[in-house]
Subunit: 293 residues, 2 copies
């Protein structure tokens, strides 16, 4: 087995090589004056007949990282790899999984089909937006959930934990963390006051959060709105401290400010994307990805 | 037949709709805060059972334009198009058509296979770098040559024309223009003086260019080096005036300066890419594309 590390890996390629005792080949990369990417895999003869793990995350600039992923997979296949395992820790376009309005492109379908069509036999990704969307990849799919890592880290930090999901769709994530921490969990069902416009949580009895360390678990922190709102609700229900944990902490635009203003005391994320804040806990997912290979 | 116009068309979608008396549907487009493209085709029910022409050029930012092209093609297919004709006036990654060093990705192959795999039945492109590379698109391919447009325009301007190809590979382009202008043509075979390092042309007798309007024809003006060098050689052989014509005038970096310093009097290009210079002749390729549909 050989690991081929792309241009957007945050050390996951190195981590996999170590965990799997496999050789790592880093791609050679440059950008031509016109903006086109150049990808070269040194010593391609080594790939002949090998199982090859191609590592490339597809955060911003996602289209560049995606095209490079496709170039790498096809090249690896051309050089005789017997099996190509695409490790895409952060999967771009995962939130474009439904046609919310008629006429919309199902972008995640195109992304997954393209990865498959150039030659990936297996796709491994961390915490996709929806597990079902991965059905567009007509091949073997493996999902890596970082929640056990969060729980392990949180166990060192929290006192009287309570895990909160910002909505019912993400509840399974909260459950994974809560079960490891051996604590209660719930999801926020929002209710807007028709007169004041104020948002409150519906289904969480106030006493449940009283003096608790509340951990908000989600797949992604993007512009930060969902996390900030959940934090405010948690404090309004008596939380002592709020911690936010997500696989993909992007922190776009004003997100950091929103998170700080909502008094989130700590953010936990992973290296599926670059480190977005100086003072966050930034966990390495290499080992839990390696377990799936 | 319906024309679906993408985000990088320079009016070619409108030109095609007019030339073919077909309805034009412009895609709705935005970019999410995280950088992901959003594509929506209004009134998708109109595409059901229709031949659909998807227009999207793939100049810089080429990866974004490419991904959007893939999203559009797949969506158009999903909405029931009976046939998808992809019009890609400028084809990104066309110059990565060979492995110059072992291990290099054959990027153009990945691009063409991806366009095919999402559902394009036919590919139409203007002046690709090499016609043979289009074999990677396993479907019908049509190439549009703008040389007749160049000749038509040049006939109004030049006196005693002579067409020059900067190398033997591009000679067929020079020939197309020269035959329409009913004049002579040649290619530059360069020779470097071992002592002075000076480059001269080998196979062009000096009298051939004396007092001529020399037209340098190539597929692309990228960083301008090739054109500038050819212009200098033409002047050294006695050219009266040098004009440069290329399908894709990109003018990257210092190109404009190089072209001006080499005393090129006029640049002719087309709308396969955005207009790169204020004072160039910028030809519309819509009609000659329409002839292929």
């Amino acid at each position: 087995m050989i690991i081929v590390g792309g241009t957007s890996t945050n050390g996951i390629d190195e981590g996999l090589a170590k965990a799997l005792s496999a050789e790592l080949i880093k791609v050679e990369h440059k950008v031509f004056p016109d903006g086109e990417s150049y990808i070269r895999i040194p010593q391609p003869q080594k790939l002949q007949g090998e199982e090859v793990v191609v590592v490339q995350s597809t955060y911003y600039p996602q289209d560049k990282n995606l095209m490079e992923l496709l170039f790498m997979i096809e090249a690896v296949k051309d050089f005789g790899a017997s099996k190509v395992i695409a490790v895409v820790p952060y999967l771009a376009y995962a939130r474009q999984d439904k046609r919310f309005r008629e006429g919309e492109a199902l972008s995640i379908k195109t992304v997954l089909r393209s990865i498959r069509n150039v030659g990936a036999d297996v796709l491994i990704t961390v915490e996709p937006h929806k597990a079902e969307e991965l059905n567009h990849f007509v091949g073997e799919v493996k999902i890596v959930y970082p929640e056990p890592l969060f729980a392990e880290e949180l166990a060192k930090i929290v006192d009287k934990p309570f895990v909160l999901s910002p909505d019912v769709g993400a509840l399974f994530r909260a459950k994974m963390v809560a079960e490891k921490l051996n604590c209660d969990y719930a999801y926020i069902e929002k209710e807007r006051d028709r007169i004041t416009g104020e948002i409150t949580a519906k289904n969480i009895p106030r006493e449940n959060l009283q003096d608790k360390d509340v951990i908000i678990v989600d797949d992604i922190i993007s512009t930060g709105g969902t996390t900030a709102q959940a934090a405010k609700i948690a404090y309004s229900l008596g939380a002592r401290r709020v911690i936010a944990a997500a696989a993909h902490v992007l922190m776009i635009g004003e997100a950091k400010k929103k998170i700080q203003e909502s008094n989130v005391k700590l953010v936990i994320g992973t290296n599926t994307v670059p480190k977005a804040m100086e003072d966050m806990i930034y966990l390495d997912v290499s080992k839990i990805i390696a377990e799936k290979i």
